[in-house]
């Protein structure tokens, strides 16, 4: 009897997840309808105008979608030359050694630093450097935000890739060594091809992370409602525009911001889903 109750309560707990997801979708979709009815989904997504003035009110998400894409992809690009060596260092060259665990735990600590502290660091330490480099006059913008984002996602990209690298069977590598291959050739020809899709998956996950990052980006990107004029330009990401304007938005604008939240939710869900599918395929193989 009591086992029965226990089992039922376990099941009930699991149902909570279902309800939670349904509730999240319901809240996001329900509140987005107003703006989608006004402009249509495509009309909202493809419009770069964000004009909150009462007389000419008009909301489109394109500027923020572009801002998000610029920062996230540039951050991903910037992080590869650092996260890949970390992964190779810990998952290949010094696999299982003490130095590897030291390096990986130090890099993992980067994941523990709160976003707002990254923002402070970007503002006070990196911004003067960016100004000195002559990127733009005031330092804020996609470039600065991306650098900080890149540092933030290094641990996410490297720890998973390292795991996949360390799972490459030893006998395959030994086979290559016995044929006279050097270490880097083994990595190029054996490890990376085998762990490749796992590494790609970990970078996709890191990208998902970068897309939704809020505080650090809000503090550094300049918060202008336009499509960034390249890496030197300022802009807003989907997350940062919500952080900036949600507190006072109302009516159609509130609905537009929630719709941007819904889009962000869908984009990150798809990205995570792709990564998980790749990893599932790997673990099944």
């Amino acid at each position: 009897m009591k086992d029965r109750i226990f089992k039922i309560s376990l099941f009930a707990a699991a149902v909570v997840i279902l309800l939670l997801t349904a509730g999240i979708l319901y809240a996001l979709v329900g509140k987005s309808l107003e703006v989608f009815n006004e402009y249509g989904v495509w009309g909202f997504v493809s419009n770069a105008e964000w004009d909150p003035r009462a007389a000419t009110e008009e909301y489109g998400a394109l500027s923020f979608i572009m801002g998000t894409i610029y920062t996230a992809f540039f951050a991903l690009l910037l992080c590869i030359p650092f996260s890949l060596p970390v992964a190779l260092f810990t998952g290949e060259y010094f696999k299982g050694k003490r130095i590897a665990s030291i390096v990986s735990s130090i890099v993992d600590l980067l994941a523990g630093i709160p976003s707002i502290v990254y923002g402070l660091w970007g503002f006070y330490a990196l911004r003067p450097v960016v100004i000195a480099l002559g990127v733009n006059a005031q330092g804020f913008g996609v470039f600065l935000a991306s650098i900080v984002l890149a540092v933030m996602i290094i641990p996410y990209a490297s720890s998973l890739s390292s795991e996949f690298l360390s799972m490459v069977p030893n006998n395959l590598k030994e086979g290559a060594y016995s044929l006279g291959a050097t270490r880097i050739e083994v990595i190029q020809k054996v490890s990376i091809p085998i762990a490749g899709s796992g590494i790609v998956a970990s970078y996709i996950l890191a990208l998902g992370r970068a897309l939704g990052e809020t505080m650090a980006v809000t503090m550094l990107i300049g918060n202008t409602n336009n499509i960034p004029a390249g890496l030197r330009g300022t802009g807003n990401t989907m997350a940062s525009v919500i952080a900036n304007q949600f507190g006072e938005a109302d009516g159609l604008k509130l609905s537009a911001l929630i719709a941007i939240g819904l889009l962000l939710f869908i984009i990150t869900a798809i990205i995570n889903l792709i990564a998980k599918l790749i990893m599932k395929k790997l673990s099944a193989a």
Partner: protein, 376 residues
């Protein structure tokens, strides 16, 4: 099994305990919460704290989230009062579902603060500001700026205009001023708590703009005068309607308020005719519902809210305004505001009735503005 049930029960129990204890604190004291404008935040911060130290059982909580946020929070009834530097338009009034009352609390000036090494005095006109924020003037040594600053050595540096990322009464007043002086601004940008900007960078709240201006060489931003004072940021003298270049001071802001106010106190003192007036002088308001019994308020809360409002416009409250670089309300404004407070009801009953001949505490006899201003 017991444990399983316990695991579920304990959180529920504790949760309900939390509920109980919270009810208890509520009956012991009264919490009044408000949200809105960042412009008068330093003023409210001190006034509310003074008020709390006078009244042990009252907690006043103020969230400086911007005027737009204050009005929305009031409409959502998630706060007891909203605060705004822009009065509600007739359209906005309709959207509030119930009649609201504007209580002016003090006056202040919006200043153009800048960071430019070697330049500690600068003159600007409304149309120059408009050109800077429209992107027509992009460098500090532009001839148009140099023309009215003959004795200033302006550097060859990019201008970084800074504006508000959140909906703001400060932005509203700033744009109202520029609409008044620049036809191009009126046509391109218009007036509002949030605008569609093409140049510059954005920051959150008055202090946010002040911080970015301070940290960025070549930046200029519009902020409440106390923020520039606080940070020692240089500010520009502005040309007023009469053609004089004026700094924001208690005198020049008070001069702007020498106009006839409407009974509901929804008045603008931007760019008035008075030759001594600072052109970007503004009122700031607390906004409350006229009828406070909306289901969210107890009668005690309503009474305390009204007492708080009366305190702010009392001589004690207004002294604080003068002390920290806001301008106190004029006598006429205070009388009209008292009448407004006399309209606030709970269940249709007036909470603090207004009597015309109630001891007329003339503020200006209490404190000569000059002495107070020089105190700091």
């Amino acid at each position: 099994m017991k444990k399983a049930v316990l695991c579920l029960l304990i959180p529920m129990l504790l949760f309900s305990c939390g509920r109980l204890s919270s009810d208890k604190t509520k009956s012991g004291g009264v919490t009044i919460s408000g949200a809105g404008a960042t412009f008068p935040y330093p003023f409210y911060n001190i006034v509310f704290r003074d008020y709390m130290s006078l009244n042990d059982n009252i907690v006043v909580n103020y969230g400086a989230i911007g005027s737009g946020g204050g009005i929305r929070s009031l409409r959502d009834k998630s706060v007891d009062f909203g605060a705004s530097d822009a009065f509600l338009t007739d359209r906005e009034l309709e959207s509030m579902n119930a009649p609201v009352i504007h209580i002016p609390t003090c006056m202040g000036g919006i200043v153009m603060a800048y960071t430019l090494s070697g330049v500690d005095s600068l003159r600007l006109t409304g149309s120059l500001i408009s050109d800077i924020y429209l992107g027509n003037i992009t460098r500090w040594n532009d001839y148009r700026i140099a023309a009215i600053n003959p004795n200033v050595k302006l550097p060859d540096l990019e201008i970084t205009p800074v504006y508000r990322s959140d909906g703001s009464g400060t932005t509203f007043n700033f744009s109202e001023y520029l609409c008044d002086v620049s036809p191009e601004w009126k046509k391109v940008m218009g007036m509002g708590k949030a605008l569609k900007w093409d140049v510059g960078i954005a920051a959150k709240g008055n202090p946010g703009v002040a911080g970015i201006v301070q940290q960025t060489e070549g930046a200029i931003g519009y902020i409440g005068s106390e923020y520039s004072l606080t940070l020692g940021l240089p500010v520009a003298q502005l040309k007023n309607k009469a053609g004089n270049f004026v700094s924001a001071s208690l005198e020049s802001i008070s001069a702007a308020s020498k106009i006839q106010f409407p009974d509901d106190m929804r008045a603008s003192i931007i760019n008035v005719d008075n030759p001594d007036a600072y052109p970007m002088s503004i009122f700031t308001w607390l906004i409350v519902y006229q009828e406070l019994n909306d289901g969210n308020h107890t009668e005690v809360q309503a009474q305390e809210l009204v007492k708080l409002l009366s305190y702010i416009i009392s001589p004690e409250g207004q002294q604080v305004a003068a002390r920290i670089n806001y301008a106190p309300l004029s006598e006429q404004a205070i009388e009209k505001t008292k009448a407004l407070i006399g309209k606030i009801t709970y269940n249709g009953e007036v909470l603090i009735p207004y009597t015309e001949d109630s001891t007329k505490t003339s503020l200006n006899t209490h404190l000569t503005t000059d002495t107070l201003y020089n105190e700091r």
